[in-house]
Structures are given as C-alpha cells and as structure tokens.
C-alpha cells in the first residue's frame, strides 16, 4: 500500500467537508466543526469516506474527540500509517 501524504488527506477531507455545506475558503486546519456547522451526521459520513478510500476505520469514540479540521486530518494520517 502506497504511503498516504498529509497533503492528500487534507485535500480529500476539505473536499468532503465542502460537500456537506461549508464554504471551502472557511475550511482551514484551525476551523472547528462547530464553526463550520458540520454536525455528527456529517462526521459519520466523513468516517465512511475515510474508510472507503484509506481503509482507516474511525469509531464513534474517535469522532467525539475531533474538534478541528486539523484534528481529523492528523488522526487519519496517523491511523493510515500505523
């Protein structure tokens, strides 16, 4: 399995989040899901996208810990590499 870069994950996460409603320009690493109006259903869908594309499984407990876009990107990259 080829290495997954942080850039790739960041780009995919931003793309997915933008599809849930927020403006792409608002989606920065520091932005919180609350600020972006991204709720738990959106995060469930994000988890599904991540599982489909990177084989990384994010459980309910994992998703609850995520507050910012950066948190999500870092977790996905960490899981994908382990």
């Amino acid at each position: 399995m080829s290495a997954i870069t942080t850039e790739q994950v960041e780009s995919r996460v931003v793309e997915a989040l933008a599809s849930f409603g927020p403006d792409e320009s608002q989606i920065t690493r520091e932005a919180t899901f609350e600020e972006l109006d991204v709720d738990s259903l959106d995060l469930v869908e994000l988890a599904q996208i991540v599982e489909d594309e990177y084989g990384v499984v994010l459980k309910g407990e994992d998703m609850k810990e995520l507050k910012t876009v950066g948190d999500a990107i870092d977790l996905i990259v960490a899981r994908a590499s382990s």
Binding site: L41, V44, E45, Q48, I49
Partner: protein, 279 residues
C-alpha cells in the same frame, strides 16, 4: 431458472473468494449478467421465503428493484419467490442467512452489492419470529431470541444500510412492526416489546438521516392471513372492524408505496394496515 455447471463453479469460487465461513451465507442460482437496470441500486427483504416477506419482494421487484430474497432455512420457498419474480421479468436472487447472526449484515450486503453491481437502497426488515408465553412463564431464552431476531437484527441491518444510503443521498428503510407493538396482546410480551422497539428505532433513525434523502418508516400489520397466524379463530376475526384478516399483498402495497419515489416526504411514520383493529 437453471444454473449451468460452469456458473455454479464460478459462484462457488466467488463465495470462496469472499471467505464466507461457518455457513453464514449461501445463495441460489441467478444470472451473473444481472445488473441494476433502471434502478441505481437494489433491494433486500429479510424473511422473504413466504408470507408477507415474499409478497413484499414480489412488489418491489415489480417496481424495478433487483431484489435479494433472504431466507433463514426455507431455501425452497425463497427460490420459488425468485422464480415467480423472474417469470414476471424481474430480477432477484435467494440469499440465505440468519439475520440474528451479527456477521449477517456485512455478508448479506457485500454479496448483494457485488452481485447486482449497486448499493442496497431499499431495506425491508421483515424477518421475525415469535415465542409466545405469558410473562410469568416466559423464559429468558424465549425473550432474547425474539428481541435478537425481531429488533436487534433490524438495528444491525439498518446500520449497515445507512453507510451506502447516506453516501448515495438516497434510501428507503421499511421496518415491519405490528399492531401488537401498539396495543397489548397477552402471550406476546417479547414480540410486542420488539415490535414497539422497532417503531422507536424507526423514528430515531428517520430524524437522524432525513436531510440526506433517506426515509425510514414502519408498517404495522394487524392480523394477516399467513402461516404465522394460521390459528386464527372466528372470535379473533369478529374482533376486526373489517371482519376479515388482511392479505400479504395488502401489506406489500404499503411497503411498495413507502419505498417509492412518491413517498419521499414520508419519514418516521407508522403505517398501520389492520382493517381498523388498532384504531
């Protein structure tokens, strides 16, 4: 529909490739050339080898849904349903699994999605058993078995179905509850609890996913003339305002509507089909 020897070998190899162990899944003859045709996905009806489930499978197939006809042990019954559907120009495949098995949802969905080449976009949780007894005599095993098959299985299948339905921005889940889940019925505390629980599951799931174009509804049949109710007494029928039991087709018609595009604004609803029994 006959399945050639070569096709059987391919099907067996297909099964081995997915590594189904412990006999969790088995499936019957179907054309490998099946595709989803006019629909973007397929349908799964659990407990569809006879009765209400079989009628539902036929109705969905008539509406163009390639349909998985699930059975637990009555393979012959399921194959009969598949045959009827295919004779009418529809697409279907018999697929065996005990829905109470925690591994069943993943295996059922993986097989159907691969076979029909599209996601399961209609799920009908119809499989159900009953183990009747009055509360003071009802055993733990009888309680658990009914809750597991009639409620927990529906939850697991719903969880699995939503993964693809949410991404597809489209989906229909119909849970077959019962009027027994709405009104007390001596001897059926376990069945009633499961059916009432199914209604609560329906409503909660419905509001969670409504904005993704997925609807979740329940159908609550009253007394329907099937094997499960073959002991109907004259007294019971006299108690029904319509003065007759319903037919599986009358229940299937409700499911067909809820699964249709026309029902896109109906969600979290309980459609009672009982000749006025619970009114």
């Amino acid at each position: 529909m006959a399945c050639s020897g070569a096709t059987r070998v391919l099907l067996a190899a297909f099964g081995a490739w997915f590594g189904w162990g412990g006999g969790v899944i088995e499936w019957g003859a179907a054309s490998l050339a099946d595709g989803v045709g006019q629909r973007d996905g397929c349908a799964l009806v659990t407990g569809a080898s006879r009765g209400i489930g079989a009628a539902i499978a036929r109705a969905l197939a008539q509406d163009g849904w390639p349909t998985g006809v699930n059975y637990r042990s009555d393979r012959d019954g399921a194959e009969l349903v598949v045959g009827e559907i295919q004779r009418e120009g529809g697409r279907a495949v018999a697929i065996g699994a005990d829905v109470a098995d925690p591994r069943a949802p993943d295996r059922l969905f993986d097989v159907l999605e691969s076979h029909f080449g599209g996601p399961v976009l209609v799920l009908v949780n119809n499989a159900g058993i009953n183990r009747d007894d009055l509360v003071p005599s009802l055993g733990d095993e009888e309680w658990s078995a009914v809750l597991e098959t009639d409620l927990t299985a529906a939850f697991r299948l719903t969880r699995r179905a939503l993964k693809r339905m949410l991404r597809a921005r489209s989906g229909r889940i119909v849970n077959i509850s019962s009027v027994v889940g709405l009104r007390g019925n001596p001897g059926q505390a376990n069945y009633a609890a499961a059916k009432a629980g199914l209604i609560a599951l329906t409503k909660t799931a419905a509001v969670e996913v409504a904005r993704r174009g997925v609807t979740v509804n329940a159908v609550a049949p009253g007394l329907i003339a099937t094997e499960m109710t073959s002991q109907l007494s004259e007294d019971m029928v006299a108690g029904i305002p319509a003065r007759r039991p319903g037919t599986p087709e009358e229940v299937a018609a409700c499911v067909r509507f809820l699964a249709s595009d026309e029902a896109s604004y109906v969600t979290g609803a309980v459609l009672t089909v009982d000749g006025g029994l619970a009114a």
